[in-house]
Amino acid sequence: MTIRSHVTALLAAGLLASVAGAALAQSSLSVMSFGGAYQAAQRKAVFEPYTAKTNIKIAEQEYGGEIAKIKAMIQAGNVTLDVIDVDAPTLQQGCDEGIYEKLDWSKIGAKSEWLAGTTSDCGVGTIVYSTSLAYDSARLKDGPTSMKDLFDTKKFPGKRGLWKNPATNLEFALMADGVAPADVYKVLSTKDGVDRAFKKLDTIKKDIVWWEAGAQAPQILASGEVTMTTAWNGRIHNANKEGKQFKIVWDNQILDSNFWAIPKGAKNLTGSHDFIKYAVDPQALAAMTKYIPYGPVRTTAAQFVAKEDAANLPTSPDNLKTAITLDNAFWGDKGDEIRKRFTTWLSQ
């Protein structure tokens, strides 16, 4: 083959590929989520059945929740994504910044079926996850049973893992200090309340190992670095699937949700809405719980959840007794100020 014929063949192949690409664009949606076990569950419960039903392919993307990435893409004016999975702070910030399309709820479902705080102009709640206390039952026979035990270094000596973020920790501290779950944010919105939370955290400060990425929590628990740690429940469940014997203490767990949103300037709004409608269908949400223990945000989905999966969900009635929901509006207002204080406190 001469060089010229090589070039011709390449050109032909390129042309074919681009024609194929154009044809594909008609019947595919680009969806970005958080990767890992979470996205694998979405693939099984949502993406694959959706493709089977509609013949629309899902081109998957992954990210770590960096809202800056979405904002930069929209500012560059080339929006290649159709639907994105975002966490609650990212939803609120993005909504403030106007980087999501305003949703047409009539194309999705009745807002009243969603749990409080999981619907907005920009996002549709999809799952509820939990930040809660976990320990390794292989190392600790009589483990902690309440959030108070996290702060009880006499009864449970050893290091504790906490998320390196004031959010969730200040709430845990107040609840362990005796504040009723319903009053946590009322107390926290006063200066005295924040002082009280930091004072409580002071009592275990030298025993804390801080984790930042979600995967670190089960890792420091598995390595014995800590006796107990707060963690995202899906991560603990995953470690157990790999043979660990971690236990979750649901007392005073903090719930938060993820959302589906459409980036501003997405090319195929009808397609995006259609996908979201399918993804938050009660059956699809219930199917998710087979693969990852994140609770469905839609009340109508509960009836489809298998019994053996229901007990593992943060939203199961038994686990909800002393739970609170993370107040993202509070953190939107006070987050910057408290985070600075947290940083100063950390290095003291």
């Binding site: 190992v209 390595s223 207002d333």
Partner: protein, 409 residues
């Protein structure tokens, strides 16, 4: 006189003749120049601009800001101000820009985000006034002159807020500068810590790297080749992999603790990871090749015969090394040290993974403000401060040791 004139004429003629060649040379360098402007100069200018840019208030509430110009700054503003704000917030609510404005003010007055958002909702629901009472009913803070002073201060499209915040200062309502509250002073501490860690790492890489570089130059070529490979190999491994390897080594149940216990150096496991020790150890390891290579390349250029000559003239081994060899290696030491120091200022993944809570560096906060908080103004301001400090240190360094002492190889 004549000959001098002749000489100058000849020089000019030579320059004239060389002009096309110079132009050709310049045009060859042009792509690089354009590349540098696009990828280096423009982002820095943009960074400087973002650090002072303040577009939101003028874009969303221009009339309110105009009405506030007549406000005396002492009492609660008049109804006209509230009416203008209500009108503009109602529009902002429709344009979905109200929350953006609230977020901007929230930087300076915590709680403003939800205050502005709920006021915008109220304004859209009530097309007619009077508005002052309605604002006060929503939140009594709307009557506070301090809040309005912040609004008024933001009438310009440029603001010193981010830069001041990045050095823990704030503007009082009367315009004077004050340090922020004690529990909000973070950035100066972090900057000091960043400089301290960078300095420590630089010092350690020099102490560890200098003998290695020397060994590389005097070892037989076969051994030197293997040693060189050992120096370079880590450099070819991803930064994240090397950092994670340190996690494995340093963790409480890790190799180092196991070894120390087995050898009886300690009776309990030491806290090596999540500490300043971990940060410095991992960073020193990662930076070593950057320090060794410039030193090595300078050492390589020093003729070994000089040392032999010094010895033959009666100098002892130490004094011949110290008086003849070491002074000639200074340019390499300076270059290696400077590269490591400046690179160390920018670390953030390594301190985040092996460092303790008090080991986060400036870059870590820049990344948080860019990625998580979308506060690009503050991120840029921190970048500007870091850049200024780096340039200042570089200039002081040049002044102290002289530019001719700096050789990159």
């Amino acid at each position: 006189m004549d000959t001098t004139l002749e000489k100058i004429k000849i020089l000019i003629a030579v320059r004239e003749a060389a002009r096309p060649a110079r132009r050709a040379a310049f045009s060859l360098a042009l792509p690089l120049l354009v590349f540098l402007i696009v990828t280096f100069v423009a982002p820095i200018v943009l960074l400087l601009f973002t650090a002072v840019n303040n577009p939101e208030p003028q874009a969303v509430i221009p009339q309110t800001l105009a009405a506030l110009e007549r406000w005396d700054g002492k009492a609660m503003p008049e109804e006209a101000v509230f009416a203008a704000l209500a009108k503009e917030l109602a529009q902002a609510q429709q344009d979905r820009t109200a929350a953006l404005l609230g977020k901007r003010f929230n930087y300076e007055v915590p709680g403003m985000r939800s205050r502005v958002v709920s006021a915008a909702r109220m304004a859209l629901a009530n097309p007619t006034g009077p508005y002052r009472e309605r604002f006060l009913a929503l939140d009594a803070e709307w009557g506070s002159p301090a809040l309005w002073a912040v609004v008024k201060r933001n009438a310009g499209t440029l603001t010193p807020y981010y830069l001041l915040n990045a050095i823990d200062l704030q503007q009082e309502p009367d315009g004077s500068l004050q340090r922020v509250e004690a529990d909000q002073r973070v950035f100066m501490t972090i900057l000091g810590r960043t400089l301290f860690v960078a300095f420590t790492v630089t010092f350690l890489t020099l102490v560890l790297g200098y003998p290695v570089a020397y060994m590389l130059t005097i070892a037989p070529s076969g051994v030197a080749r293997i040693m060189m490979l050992c120096v370079l190999l880590p450099l070819w491994t991803s930064l994240l992999v090397r950092t994670t390897a340190w996690v494995v080594l340093l963790q409480t149940d890790g190799v180092i603790n196991d070894a120390l216990l087995a050898l009886g150096f300690t009776d309990h496991r030491l806290q090596l990871i999540f500490s300043r020790f971990g940060t410095v150890a991992a960073m020193t390891h990662i930076q070593l090749p950057f320090t060794i290579l410039p030193i090595y390349s300078v050492m390589k250029s020093i003729p070994p015969t000089q040392l032999r000559a010094a010895r033959s003239l009666g100098a002892g081994p130490l004094s011949s090394f110290w008086k003849i060899y070491a002074p000639q290696t200074v340019p390499g030491v300076m270059a290696g040290g400077l590269i490591t120091f400046i690179l160390s200022l920018g670390y953030y993944i390594t301190p985040a993974l092996v460092g303790g809570p008090g080991d986060q560096m400036v870059s870590n906060f820049i990344s948080i403000y860019i990625n998580r908080d979308l506060n690009w103004g503050l991120a840029s301001a921190l970048g500007v401060i870091l850049l200024t400090v780096t340039i200042a240190i570089y200039l002081v360094f040049l002044r102290l040791v002289g530019a001719e002492k700096l050789r990159m190889g």
